[in-house]
């Protein structure tokens, strides 16, 4: 029999039991929709995290003290002097700019409000290296740095907490650890990414932090951001930075007491984490697809028993084993195929819904339905229709015509 004929007959017979076919399809719809939506969320999370890592800046290296890969005795902290050495154009020709940061969690107050906020001591080049932009005011100058000026740049959320507004704040005074700082700028909102809010923080000049704030007593810095001159120069910049620090820290051969991390390292770490996350979500969703498949098998088995006489008659009229097999496989594939198509649409809607919820919860991220996940879900549901259809179809095809015709 021709394929179209087979499909039409399969449709007719599914149509004869609308309720039953509908519920069976629903099982597959839920499974496929769950897979599509979960893969969408996973891919979206990955894109969002990748995005926020890329937002940090371009061609950035992160230099930390300590090394998780090796046993280091007495690791030396990174210092301002280390940062200055890295900026040496002859020793490190691949380095464009160096931005050391000293950080602390400090008490801030103003306008009768109190809060504990992350305060960072930064250098003027920080704005360029880390893509910081201001919604008002100006970034620190070299003169501010030299003069240890008591000035601060604050994030939008911090501004909202302390002053209950986000603009018109230049010239206001805020107290950090009880000391007054004049506000000279407000950071533009970076939004809350998957890595937490970037808008609840305060920047002060590095020298001011060291001189006046808690945790800034010596030359120690928490992290040094290094910008390479180009994307291609990132590996050589990493090598130059390591070489300089090894010399300065007099480390044993092969045992660095610091870690140089490139943006690419961060990206691949984050991607492997979100990859696991995606597989995990997709796996759970796939279980419901499996359950839907078992539903198909169940219904097909019932259908074979109910139609025993019909099968016997068809065999008496000359249907071969293969004809019966094809007929029942067509029905199960149609069930899973229809379920797959509806499920893809529903999953897409579900992903859009999750996106809306994430916006409402103030942690917006885009879900990403990729062609891959659509193909995967389609193939998977078709395979499930065939796999779970084969046993019932085979049962139907192996019926003896004499027995089947006698069946009441």
């Amino acid at each position: 029999m021709k394929l179209t004929q087979v499909l039409i007959e399969a449709l007719e017979s599914l149509n004869a039991n609308k309720m039953r076919s509908g519920l069976t399809i629903l099982g597959i719809v839920i499974g496929v929709a769950a897979v599509i939506a979960m893969l969408g969320v996973g891919n979206g999370a990955q894109a969002s995290i990748t995005g926020s890592i890329n937002d940090i800046g371009t061609n950035i290296l992160f230099v930390f003290s300590g090394n998780s890969d090796a046993k280091v005795r007495n690791p030396r902290p990174l210092t301002i002097q280390d940062a200055e050495a890295l900026a040496d154009i002859f020793a490190a020709p691949s380095v464009q700019a160096v931005a050391p940061v000293v950080q602390g969690q400090n008490e801030i107050s103003g306008g009768g409000q109190k809060s504990s906020v992350q305060v960072s001591g930064v250098v003027p080049v920080h704005a360029q290296v880390l893509n910081e932009s201001l919604s008002e005011g100006e970034f620190f100058s070299e003169a501010n740095l030299l003069g240890r000026a008591s000035i601060a740049i604050i994030g939008q959320d911090t501004a909202q907490t302390i002053f209950e507004r986000k603009s018109g704040l230049v010239g206001e005074t805020i107290r950090i650890d009880g000391q007054p700082f004049r506000i000279t700028g407000v950071l533009a909102s970076k939004g809350g990414g998957m890595m937490g809010s970037q808008d609840n923080r305060i920047l002060v000049p590095l020298t001011t932090f060291q001189a006046r704030l808690k945790g800034g007593a010596n030359d120690k810095v928490n992290i040094i951001y290094v910008q390479a001159i180009s994307a291609e120069a990132v590996p050589s910049a990493a090598e130059e930075v390591s070489q300089i620090l090894r010399t300065r820290h007099r480390t044993e051969v092969g045992v660095d007491d610091f870690t140089v991390f490139t943006q690419q390292d961060f990206l691949s770490t984050a991607q492997s984490i979100t990859g696991v996350f995606t597989v995990f979500l997709g796996g759970i969703a796939a279980i419901s697809l499996l359950v839907g498949g078992i539903g198909i098998m169940n219904i097909m088995l019932v259908s074979v028993v109910e139609r025993t006489r019909e099968i016997g008659l068809r065999k008496a009229l000359g249907a071969r084993r293969g004809d019966i097999l094809t007929q029942f496989l067509a029905e199960s594939s149609l069930l899973s195929g229809l379920g797959g198509v509806i499920g893809i649409l529903l999953g897409w809607l579900l992903a859009l819904g999750i996106e809306q919820v994430s916006i409402a919860l103030d942690t917006p991220f885009k879900t990403a339905i990729s062609l891959d996940s659509v193909l995967l879900a389609t193939l998977f549901s078709a395979a499930i229709g065939l796999f779970f259809g084969i046993y019932p179809a085979n049962r139907a095809a192996s019926l003896e015509p004499v027995e089947a015709l006698r069946y009441e």
């Binding site: 021709k2 068809r314 008496a316 009229l317 000359g318 071969r320 293969g322 004809d323 004499v402 015709l405």
Partner: protein
């Protein structure tokens, strides 16, 4: 009546039911000639249903030889048997056995579909329905037809593929006597017009009386024949 259509020699059929062996046929032999109308009668349990299944190629004998329209049937595979049923046998059942969701035309087309025929299929099915007097019921479904009309559809389905034999198993069993007689008249007329060999399995002596020959089957063997 010279050409044999059915030639069966020493057919036996043994069923296993638990530990017991049931001998449904015990060395039955018979010949049926082209164009004949033969009634097979016998009490229930006599083996006549088993005989019909074997003659209609629904089942294989345990031993013995059987040739249908010149083809040896023993030792064929399931698919080869399906082919022979499709080409050489038309079945008419007591309970009609039509596909309830499909129209009369689709029901009649079914054997042609399994024969792989595409071209002219609908036209052949339509001609068969006209031959049984249902030209105005072609696109009706079985539940829209009376019992007699349903049996006519089944007859059209049996002869659409021009089979060598038509096996009718109690064809009038589910019909009242008037309609039953109409059906008998129809299949006897078709037998005369087309020369298709007709084998009727029946309990009903009035039906058997209309056959050219009656074969009595008792305890799995032929006990007697009357012309």
């Amino acid at each position: 009546m010279s050409e044999t259509v059915i030639s069966a020699k020493n057919l036996t059929k043994v069923y296993k039911m638990g530990d017991m062996e049931v001998h449904a046929l015990r060395g039955l032999s018979l010949d049926i000639y082209k164009g004949e109308v033969v009634a097979i009668v016998g009490p229930s349990g006599s083996g006549k249903s088993t005989l019909m299944n074997i003659l209609g190629c629904l089942d294989l004998p345990s031993s013995g030889e059987y040739s249908l329209d010149g083809e040896q049937v023993a030792n064929l595979t399931d698919d080869q048997l399906a082919d022979i049923r499709n080409r050489k046998v038309g079945f008419v059942f007591q309970s009609f056995n039509l596909l309830s969701r499909q129209t009369a035309l689709s029901n009649v087309e079914l054997p042609l579909r399994y024969a792989g025929q595409v071209e002219g299929r609908k036209e052949r099915a339509r001609q068969a329905l006209i031959a049984v007097g249902l030209e105005d019921r072609i696109s009706h479904r079985p539940y829209e037809l009376s019992g007699g009309q349903q049996q006519r559809v089944a007859i059209a389905r049996a002869l659409v593929n021009d089979p060598a034999i038509i096996m009718a198993d109690e064809p009038t069993g589910n019909l009242d006597s008037k309609v039953g007689q109409e059906i008998m008249d129809l299949i006897l007329t078709l037998n005369k017009e087309r020369g298709t060999t007709l084998i009727i399995i029946t309990h009903d002596p009035r039906v058997a009386a209309q056959a050219g020959r009656t074969i009595h089957v008792i305890d799995g063997v032929v006990e007697g024949q009357e012309q």
